[in-house]
Structure formats: C-alpha cells, structure tokens
C-alpha cells in the first residue's frame, strides 16, 4: 500500500458518533461527566485544527525564527501547565526553578538529539524539530509535575525530620537528600515503565504514525528508539535540575528550613 488514506471530513465527522455513544453511556450511568467530555472533545478538535494550520505554515516556510518561536511557545505552555497541575503551593523561587529546569533540561537533551543523533541539516528543520521537541517537552512536563509535587509534599511531611537532621549539624543538601532522590525516582519511573512495555504491550504513537504514513517499520523503529532515548535524557535532565535546585529554595541563607511555619512551632510548643 502506498500513500495515506485521506480520511475526509464526512468520514471524520462519523468519528464523533463514537463520542455520542460514550456520552450516552456516561449519562445513562449518571456519572455526570458529559459536559466535561463534550468540552474536552471540542477543545481537542479546535486546538488540533489550529495547530494543523500553524504547523502547515511553519513547515512550509523553513524559517529559523519560526521554529525557535514554536519551541519557545511549547516551553512556555509546558511551564504554565506545570504551575497549574501541581497541587501543592509553590514559592516564587520554586516556580523560577521549574521554568529554568524545564528550559535548560529540554534544550540540553534537544541539542544532543538534533545535532548528534539526527545530525539535522539545517539544524532548525521544523519538520523534525517541532514534533520531536513536542515529545521531549511534553514528557519532561509530566516528569517535572510528578517530581515537583513529590518534592514539595515530601519536604512538608518531613519537616520535623529535616529539622531534626539539621540540628545535628547536617548540611541542607544532606538533610533533604532522601526526599530529593525519592522525588527524582517518582518522576522518572513512568518513563522507564513505558520503555519496558514498548513494542509488546503497545506500539508507540510516533512509530504507529510513521508506519501509517508509509515509512518502513525498521526506519520507524529507529526513530522511536532515538526518541525514547531523547525523552529519557530530557526527563532525567529537567527533573534532576528541578529537584536539586528546587530543594535549595526550602532553605534560607542561614541554612534554616524556611517553609510556612505551622501553628505548633509558631506557638513554641514543639
């Protein structure tokens, strides 16, 4: 089979019948999520149509600034998404660390990926850079969200332990080492797990897409492996920078734990 079957608007519209079926099921079971479902489907449709046009424009132009702008927009949205998704309150300095780690970690991984693994010519070739950057940034965003939440919660829950360790003369870095390591592990485990099941339990999206568009499975697999390695590095870099730098924001220049003071300590009963 050569080329790709064009789904066409009418056939695509038929796809929405599936949504109606799902909505009907939800309504019948009184789960009460039909509005969210409709909004989600609507958002997905509008966002993808818009992004389709934007990508068409960027891919057609092959301009460096357009690629850079697109990657920057992705980075910004990823950071904002982390701010929104992390359920624990973040200080201003911690937010800065999130943004810094997201940008530096992904750029580091992307640099290696585009210059060394793919040897892109030109290096900003949007056809490669944009989808790959999207995958690296998207996975790093999930990693940072998991890691930040675990780190912030871990420090809050272990406040007494951390102070107990500081009292003995430990450095702040030593006092939070276990919490930092746990946050890093929690953030990276989903990426590791996804690699374990890949090819057996599920076929990854990018590889499936390439095969659908007529690329040979061997080439598709090469890309998929490269992308997975890039994702692993990107998630690990961003999360590592976030947890190590982020953990410093919990202490002031006097190596004192500087979190909001709970009532019992403030009253001096502890």
């Amino acid at each position: 089979m050569n080329g790709v079957i064009d789904i066409g608007f009418i056939n695509l519209a038929a796809g929405y019948l599936l949504v109606l079926v799902v909505a009907g099921m939800i309504k019948k079971r009184r789960i009460g999520k039909e509005t969210e479902l409709v909004i989600a489907v609507f958002r997905m449709t509008v966002q993808l149509v818009l992004v389709g046009y934007v990508l068409d424009l960027i891919l057609g132009s092959e301009r460096m600034w357009m690629t850079l702008a697109a990657v920057s927009v992705m980075e910004i949205f990823a950071v904002l998404n982390v701010y929104q998704r992390v359920q624990v309150e973040m200080s201003r300095s911690f937010r800065r660390v999130v943004a810094f780690s997201m940008a530096s970690g992904t750029l580091l991984a992307m640099g290696f990926f585009f210059f060394v693994i793919l040897s892109l010519e030109p290096w900003y070739s949007p056809r490669y850079v944009i989808p790959m950057a999207g995958m690296l940034i998207g996975n790093s965003m999930t990693g940072i969200t998991l890691g930040a939440e675990r780190l912030l919660k871990g420090v809050q829950d272990r406040r007494d332990l951390i102070e107990g360790v500081l009292m003995l003369g430990a450095t702040p870095e030593r006092a939070v080492r276990e919490t930092v390591n746990e946050a890093f592990t929690a953030a990276i485990v989903p990426t590791i797990n996804s690699m374990v099941g890949m090819g057996i339990i599920f076929l990854p999206g990018m590889m499936s897409g390439q095969i659908l568009s007529g690329v040979s499975p061997v080439t598709a697999i090469e890309y998929q492996i490269a992308v997975m390695l890039g994702i692993l590095a990107s998630v690990a870099f961003t999360v590592f920078i976030m947890v190590t730098q982020g953990s410093r924001t919990f202490f002031n220049s006097r190596s004192q734990l500087a979190l909001p003071v709970p009532e019992k300590i403030a009253k001096g009963t502890l």
């Binding site: 107990g164 500081l166 009292m167 003995l168 003369g169 190596s255 004192q256 734990l257 403030a266 502890l270």
Partner: protein
Amino acid sequence: MGFLLENVVYRNILDIPSLEMPGGKVTCIIGDSGSGKTTLMRLLNNLISADRGIVWYRGVNVDQTDPVALRRKVVMLAQNPFILPGTVAENLLIGLAFAGKEPASEETLAEILQTVSLGKSLSDDAMELSGGEKQRLALARVLLLKPEALLLDEPSSALDERTEGEVIKEVVTLAKKDSRTLVMIVHSLDLARRFADLVVIVKGGKVEVAEGVAGA
C-alpha cells in the same frame, strides 16, 4: 563562655532583654506548654534567627557564623526525635554521618547505650523499640557527637520517673566530666533544681533566672 542573649525578640513569642547561660554548666529551662521554651532553644542552635537582638555563643554572633559549623558545636535534640528504619547501630552512626564525623567503634556504641540505660543490642531493629527507648536511642546519638554544647528538648518526656532520673543523672555527669555546656528543657521544677546550676523559667515569652541547687 556559653550563651548570651541581648535584647532578643522573636515574633510575639519571645522577648528577652538579657539572658546568660554559662559555658561548662548545666542550665535547665522550665515553663508551661507554649511559653516559648523550644523557640528559645532553636535560637541557640540558629535553627531560627531572632527578629531583633543578638544571640552570642562563645563571643560569636550566631547569625554571623557558618550555621552548619555552629550546629556541629551546638547540637540540639528535638522533643520528638527521629528514628530511621534500620538497626540501633545504624541509627547511632547516622548522627555521626550527618555531622560529617568519622564512624565510631562498636565498643563506643555499646558504651553510649549503657550511658542512656538502653539495654538493647546494636543489631536490634530500632523501629521495634518503645517510645521511651527510641528517645534514649536518639539521646545516645547526640551524646556520641560529643559537641561543645548540648541542647536537649525534654529528653525524658517519654520515660518513667525512675528511668528519667537515671538517664538525666548520667547525661549531666557526662557533661560535667568533660566541662560541656548543657541546656535542657525539663518538665518539672524539682528535676531542674536537682541537676541545674542555673534554672531559667520561661513565662509568656519572658524569662526569669533562678539558681539551681547544683549551683548553689
């Protein structure tokens, strides 16, 4: 020289115009729950900084010295000390590791357990210990660090009266033998009078000083 507090104010919790806790002596702090005893102790260890005033330790402003180095000299034990999963020996050794010190020999570890009247084996699981035993293990851990000054926040709150007397007596004897500065929050005036050279009474964020029997 020990600790000297001058015009120290911390939030609306403490207001201390002047307080001296002599070096090489035993100071006991007593006061009602919520009176600011622990806050006072945390200021000495620079775990918090005063909003106003100066806390001096051996003539050095604690807010202008390396806080980690200070805490290695002025070690504090919290009222609810932490015990980590692992053996009794591991819990003792981790204190030395936190403070950047060399590990101690098994003999030293066993000796320190005797000092705090903890009749347990070094290989016992620390998580299996009772509340009082855990408290003594944590006390042994800070004694092992042999700091210049030791700050103990109710080190015997989970002990029965007899064990409490024994343990505090041992700790005081040990401190006096090496001329260490010992500051202890205790829950009763009797206990304070029995062991202290100086008794500090904290009441609503203010302090009063009384001589202890030991210092009389």
